[in-house]
């Protein structure tokens, strides 16, 4: 390390005088975009995290899809179970992977909030949260940037899964608008769960918390959603959960597009409502309870 005196030839300007402003409000867009971009940089610079984020959904399709694909009688024997009396389904469903794909994509959004929560806890434990909050950045801004950052991270796997599904021979239905609606629905789902996750862990500094919560919410919400099997075969209490489970809405929204080539826009509205509500609740919680360290 150099111990030389700082270079006096480099003249730096004196600080600008403090000016009394009438309003104490300070805009947050610059801080939000900076923190959001930091989240992206940290994701895309970590090859292992990126690889696993991309490979994991592919493995879902490969292992889960293939295990059902090869049942005796193939898709024909599965159709009554998967489609019930749905004529459209019976007519268009060509493989279990086709049925499974929208469900897996919706399920993959369940735990994306874990990344944001881990990143927040890391910032708290290493002191970086103090560095952020000692600038004119609100806790709500930090929260929103983390939530959107982890939702974006979750969406990275989507194109990979679509390519993987093509490789597995899945035939897609639907037009561009329907696909845009479905992908937007997935984004809402990821943002909503990310917001929920970060709100629950706002006051935590324990590394274990995000993993425990991920395990806790993933299993029941995944199975009580219709993501893997039609919810019509569920017992009543599970159907009740499925009726309000946003994962199920995203799965059915996607299945309508991919398998039948139709879309129910009210499902997209429900997912937007879910995301909006989670962000609103989460922002309020984070503004009050987000710990600095």
């Amino acid at each position: 390390m150099s111990l030389a005196t700082p270079d006096p030839a480099v003249a730096l300007t004196a600080p600008a005088p403090a000016v009394a402003h009438r309003s104490s409000h300070v805009g947050q867009w610059s801080q939000f975009s900076g923190l959001y971009y930091r989240e992206l940089i940290k994701t895309f610079r970590n090859p292992l995290v990126l690889a696993i984020t991309v490979i994991q959904p592919f493995m879902w399709l490969a292992f889960f899809g293939s295990s059902f694909e090869n049942v005796p009688g193939g898709i024909s024997s599965l159709k009554p179970l998967l489609c019930g009396g749905n004529i459209g389904c019976l007519a268009h469903l060509t493989s279990y992977t086709q049925f499974l794909l929208p469900g897996v994509m919706a399920t993959s959004m369940l735990s994306v909030g874990m990344f944001g929560a881990m990143s927040t806890i890391q910032d708290k434990r290493f002191g970086f949260m103090k560095r952020i909050l000692i600038t004119p950045t609100s806790k709500a801004t930090v929260y929103l940037s983390k939530a959107l950052g982890s939702a974006t991270r979750g969406l990275v796997g989507i194109p990979v899964m679509l390519v993987a599904a093509l490789a597995f021979g899945v035939q897609f239905q639907g037009d561009l608008l329907m696909w845009a609606g479905w992908l937007l629905g997935l984004a809402f789902l990821g943002f909503g769960f990310s917001a929920l996750f970060l709100a629950v862990t706002a006051s935590s500094t324990d590394w274990q918390t995000p993993g425990v919560i991920a395990n806790f919410i993933t299993m029941p919400l995944m199975f009580a959603s219709g993501a893997l099997f039609p919810s019509t075969n569920y017992p009543t209490w599970m159907q009740y959960i499925a009726d309000y489970n946003p994962v199920g809405y995203a799965a059915v929204l996607g299945r309508d597009v991919v398998v039948y080539g139709t879309i129910d826009w009210t499902y997209l509205g429900y997912l937007a409502l879910f995301a909006g509500l989670m962000v609103l609740i989460g922002t309020t919680i984070a503004a009050k309870y987000l710990k600095v360290e």
């Binding site: 730096l12 600080p15 403090a18 610059s30 940089i41 970086f128 600038t135």
Partner: protein
């Protein structure tokens, strides 16, 4: 810039029953280097957290750079910089990216030329694209100060900036801190428990103990308060207080752990008498403290500045109490 960069009235922070900062009144003149000197756990870092809006004030008022900390925290944050005790940077980003993020957080649009100049000033220009995780401790400290300077703040808070550094790096940082104050005309509030650091860098010092200011003034004013020397002595055998009190020239006797601290008018005259009196008790350590900030602290509090108080001797117990109090 207001005449006083920092003003507090009755500043108090309580965690339940634990009073971390106890009705502190302070005025820090603009353009100076103000030192908060005290042992670990005295409340120095808590004062910085209160003044920077990282922690809520329990009672009292504070203004920094002319803005009320509670009413206009964002305005305060636009006008302050911060250098932490532990170096806090994003190790996954380069120096330039850390500066970029700081510019975003401070809402700066025209920052690149200044960032360029600052990196040259701190001799980091050649390594700007390298990840900060590959930097030496000294370079990381420099970059941390660079971040604190980027948005041209009025006040920089430096919380134990040289703690844990080797002597060379510490001297280099002293130079930088003086440079930041003199060349950038920025008010510096510095906390330290290093006597020589506060003495060398600060125009004004407040000595803090158990959350309260116990003395304030310039280093020379503080030192002139104590017209006595201190002899600190440790013996193998147990020694009674009356035995020490009867030594001619000893005006006060206090115990600190295994040691005795004797306040004497003149160490030259009294030291031979102390040695004579205790020669059969097996002296294991003896130390003479001339008028210094250390002796000021000893005179006021009865303990050395680097000696933790009873509540912080067991750190696990102290932090457990703090956590309980916060809940």
């Amino acid at each position: 810039m207001p005449i006083d960069a920092i003003v507090t009235h009755g500043l108090t922070k309580a965690y339940g029953k634990l009073i971390a900062v106890d009705h502190v009144d302070m005025k820090v003149a603009a353009g100076g280097v103000f030192g908060l000197l005290g042992p670990n756990g005295a409340g120095k870092t808590t004062i910085i957290k209160l003044l920077t809006g990282l922690s809520d004030i329990t009672e009292g008022t504070a203004s920094v750079a002319g803005f009320d900390v509670q009413a206009e925290p964002m305005r305060v944050k636009q006008n302050i910089g911060w250098v932490a005790a532990e170096v806090i940077l994003d190790d996954d980003l380069s120096a330039w990216e850390n500066l970029w993020l700081q510019a975003k957080l401070q809402r700066l649009s025209d920052w690149k030329d200044r960032a360029d100049d600052i990196l040259k000033y701190f001799e980091l220009g050649d390594r700007r694209k390298d990840k900060v995780g590959t930097y030496s401790t000294g370079m990381r400290k420099k970059l941390e100060i660079a971040l604190a300077l980027l948005h041209q703040p009025q006040v920089i808070f430096m919380d134990e900036p040289t703690i844990g550094l080797d002597a060379n790096t510490r001297r280099m940082l002293w130079q930088l801190i003086t440079g930041v104050n003199k060349e950038f005309h920025i008010t510096v509030l510095l906390t330290s428990h290093y006597i020589e650091e506060a003495d060398a860098l600060c125009d004004q010092i407040s000595i803090i103990d158990q959350g309260r200011f116990v003395a304030s003034g310039t280093p020379s004013e503080l030192k002139s308060r104590v017209k006595a020397d201190f002899i600190e002595v440790e013996t193998r055998m147990s020694v009674s207080e009356p035995k020490l009190r009867q030594i001619p020239g000893v005006s006060e006797v206090r115990s600190e752990g295994k040691a005795w601290i004797l306040k004497v008018a003149s160490a030259e005259e009294t030291l031979p008498r102390v040695l004579e009196t205790l020669k059969s008790d097996g002296i294991t350590r003896i130390n003479v403290e001339r008028p210094s900030l250390e002796s000021v602290f000893m005179d006021i509090t009865g303990k050395r500045i680097d000696h933790p108080g009873p509540d912080v001797q067991d750190y696990r117990k102290f932090y457990a109490n703090l956590r309980r109090a916060r809940q």
